[in-house]
């Protein structure tokens, strides 16, 4: 079940397209039942921001209608009664009614009800977790919260979606939410960038940097005594990081290549001065040190996870990539 969700994860955060297919999500039912226990008397809060999407995908009620029973009777929605009527693949014994009978309108209501409640639950869970500290179902919530955020596809609001999966997944990508002016959204990032100059370092700035795991990390390269710093949040894929690393060290590497003692024989005609960083085919390999202090090969884990755990990067000579030298070499 969890695997299914993980597999679907890139989709869930694909806010650009409207192509959410709810028919895939039949597996939600069982997971949601587990979630139900923690939810207390929640009135039905629908997610109305997913309206546009739902127009495309009317007929599926992939979500267990069991949770709809929890909506207090005080809400006299036509929508909620429609929902009660319209659940077709009930896990529990709910009155059947085929969705095919309903108009698109009611189906939309049904889906929004379910969708909304689903996320409502998830969000409630999220808050409970925040207060109780348990992290068990966080990844599930992160995924569940995702679809809600696929608002008007024309205006996508953020680039930092991936790294928010564990926490505020729903808040970030919704258009116009939170209600602050655009220039305020970028304040933290731009201030950090300007605070980077060496003669202005202060404890507060260092703390600020450390609070955001994996933003600016040091990167050293074998054979080059002076390291660089790279902002992991500025990239969204390993490819881009590889390109950036290439550019960072290109000049220094070429200078080193002038040295006849340097062992490199790379052709400077290539686009990449340092090719094969990620696939271990080249002369150099990119490795990183994670938050547990272990040296790891770059590229194994999903990008988001990498960003949140990487503390330092290093460009090693591939020939040095054996276990003994990794443990000996200081990163």
């Amino acid at each position: 079940m969890e695997e299914e969700f993980r597999g679907g994860r890139p989709q869930l955060f694909d806010f650009i397209t409207n192509g959410r297919d709810w028919s895939d999500k039949g597996g939600y039912g069982a997971a949601e039942e587990k979630n139900l226990e923690l939810r207390l008397g929640l009135p039905g809060g629908e997610d109305w921001s997913a309206v546009q999407e739902k127009r495309e995908h009317p007929a599926e009620s992939a979500v267990s209608p069991g949770h709809i029973a929890k909506i207090p009777k005080s809400t006299n929605l036509s929508a909620s009664s429609g929902a009660k009527r319209g659940c077709s693949d009930a896990v529990e014994s709910k009155p059947e009614g085929t969705l095919a009978d309903k108009t698109t309108f009611q189906q939309r209501h049904l889906q929004q009800q379910q969708l909304g409640f689903l996320q409502l639950q998830a969000k409630g869970k999220e808050s409970l977790h925040r207060t109780s500290g348990s992290a068990g179902l966080q990844s599930l919530e992160g995924k569940v919260c995702g679809p809600h955020a696929a608002h008007a596809s024309s205006t996508k609001n953020t680039t930092a979606t991936h790294s928010t999966s564990q926490s505020r997944a729903a808040a970030a990508p919704v258009v116009g939410w939170p209600p602050i002016r655009s220039f305020r959204k970028n304040l933290a990032g731009t201030a950090k960038a300007s605070a980077e100059s060496p003669n202005r370092r202060s404890d507060a700035e260092k703390k600020l940097e450390n609070d955001r795991k994996g933003l600016f990390v040091k990167i050293n390269m074998d054979g080059i005594p002076i390291g660089r710093k790279v902002d992991l949040k500025a990239y969204d894929s390993y490819e881009k990081l590889s390109l950036a690393v290439d550019e960072l060290f290109r000049g220094l590497l070429m200078a080193a290549q002038m040295d006849p003692l340097a062992a490199t024989t790379q052709s400077t005609k290539e686009t990449h001065v340092i090719p094969g960083l990620l696939d271990r085919s080249g002369e150099y390999t990119l490795v990183y040190e994670d938050d547990e202090g272990d040296k790891m090969l770059v590229g194994d884990v999903p990008w988001d996870m990498f960003v949140s755990t990487a503390k330092r990067l290093r460009v090693l000579k591939s020939s040095d990539l054996c276990a003994s030298s990794l443990s000996v070499a200081s990163l």
């Binding site: 008397g41 808050s127 925040r130 505020r168 939410w177 939170p178 209600p179 304040l187 300007s194």
Partner: protein, 575 residues
Amino acid sequence: MTYFPEEVVEHIFDFLGSHRDRNAVSTVCKAWYHVERFSRRNVFVGNCYAIRPERVMARFPGMKSLSVKGKPHFADYNLVPYDWGGFALPWINAAVRRCPGLEDLRLKRMVVTDDDLDLLARSFPNFRSLVLVSCEGFSTDGLAAIATYCRGLRELDLQENEVEDHGRQWLSCFHESCTSLVSLNFACLKGEVNAGVLERLVARCPNLRSLKLNRAVSVESLNEIVARAPYLVDLGTGSFAVDHHTDAYQRLMNSFSKCKSLSSLSGFWEASPHCLDAVYPVCINLTVLNMSYAPAIQADDLIKLISLCFKLQKLWVLDCIGDKGLAVVASTCKELQELRVFPSDIYGAGATSVTEEGLVAISSGCPKLNSLLYFCYQMTNAALITVAKNCPHFTRFRLCILDPWKPDPVTNQPLDEGFGAIVRSCKNLRRLSLSGLLTDQVFLYIGLYAKCLEMLSIAFAGDSDKGMVYILKGCKNLRKLEIRDCPFGDIALLNDVAKYETMRSLWMSSCDVTLGGCKALAAKMPRLNVEIINESEGSDKLEENISDLHKAEKMYVYRTVAGPRNDAPDFVWTL
């Protein structure tokens, strides 16, 4: 009063400052209408499409000061497409023709082009003050025109506009003989200005009291400026990035200590903690402090600063101040009237943030608090009830819990009771923004108690049409209602259509109103413009087979005597 000569009536009307009072007296009788219209100097138009500019100018030929607002409020949060409208040109044109004595112009959320600014600059010989708030469409070229042609300009105040930087040295366009500036705010500009030009401008304007520099102005330049303008009352500091080991820092301390009149500070764009020491000398006089652009200043440094600010009335900070910092504010700033706490990191985990505790502390420590904007990750009913008890004087209460639908984390209940307590206790509440998990119940409370409420913002709240109906029925003074992502549909929309003529505007996006419902509203109320903003690709024309059951993604309804507007872009359908 009918037997008084007009001059006497006019003199009495001079005491009426507010637009509403003047609007009211002008409806008493024809005589009063005439006296009032010729004597009105300040004209306020809350919605630029509610009336044609020519009508306004014709009615008030003696107009000296004009204030116009354009786009709906949610445009601030990117919910309104760029070219929706709100053009300044028709207003400037009409004023050129009818009111050449215009002195002050204030535009909010409008599209202003460089040509507009050029026309403005050349057409009004007595022009004194230009205030642009949240506008766009112009560049530094337009500013150059203003600087060049508005001799005798006293105020140029640019607040949070989108201004293109064309690199032109617009500041240099202020003539050497221009010595009249009282207020200059270019904090929102991104580009550089010539430091020498700026310093000379400041030096030759002895009446300069308010100066807000942009991020590009260095601290060295700030030093020169402050040294030349020791009578400044309101200062936006520019970048304020200074290494406390250097000379600049020392000089800054000296300069600030000479500013005896300084009572308002903002800016600090790139301030790091050490440079705040320079500000300490002025803290005891500060009534306004805006640190909300300085994410590098963390709680401890903010606390050191704020604990000296006994006279503070208005404070804008980032949420990195934390509950601890807010407790210090509460114990220090007994005169505090307005507090805004902005989120410093909306993508992160909110590691340093504020919670309900900070708000409760503020409410118990600051009895004069009447205006609040508070971003946080959680809020409880108990806290809101306490706040309501401690601060019955709120006129503006805007709470934004960053996660939609977030319930009270302690009880898991919706926040209906908390907000209910606020509206019950704060009898003068004029503006309210809701967030968190909310059912129809909160709207019942609002309709019941919030009798003075004029502006209400709702997002991700409610269960049914009843919620919206409670609001429309109960809030007699409602002027602006903006709703997003709520389950309100046609039944609520059409429940009392006459109500909308008593309001300035209604915005509903991602709700349940359908095209059919909107059409019905438009049909019943000819003096409302019912606009649908349709952003999906491929359907530009209303006629293209769109069923009435189709949801109206964004709907904006406003009363107007001008009829449907003629400058609407293709994606806006006026029904």
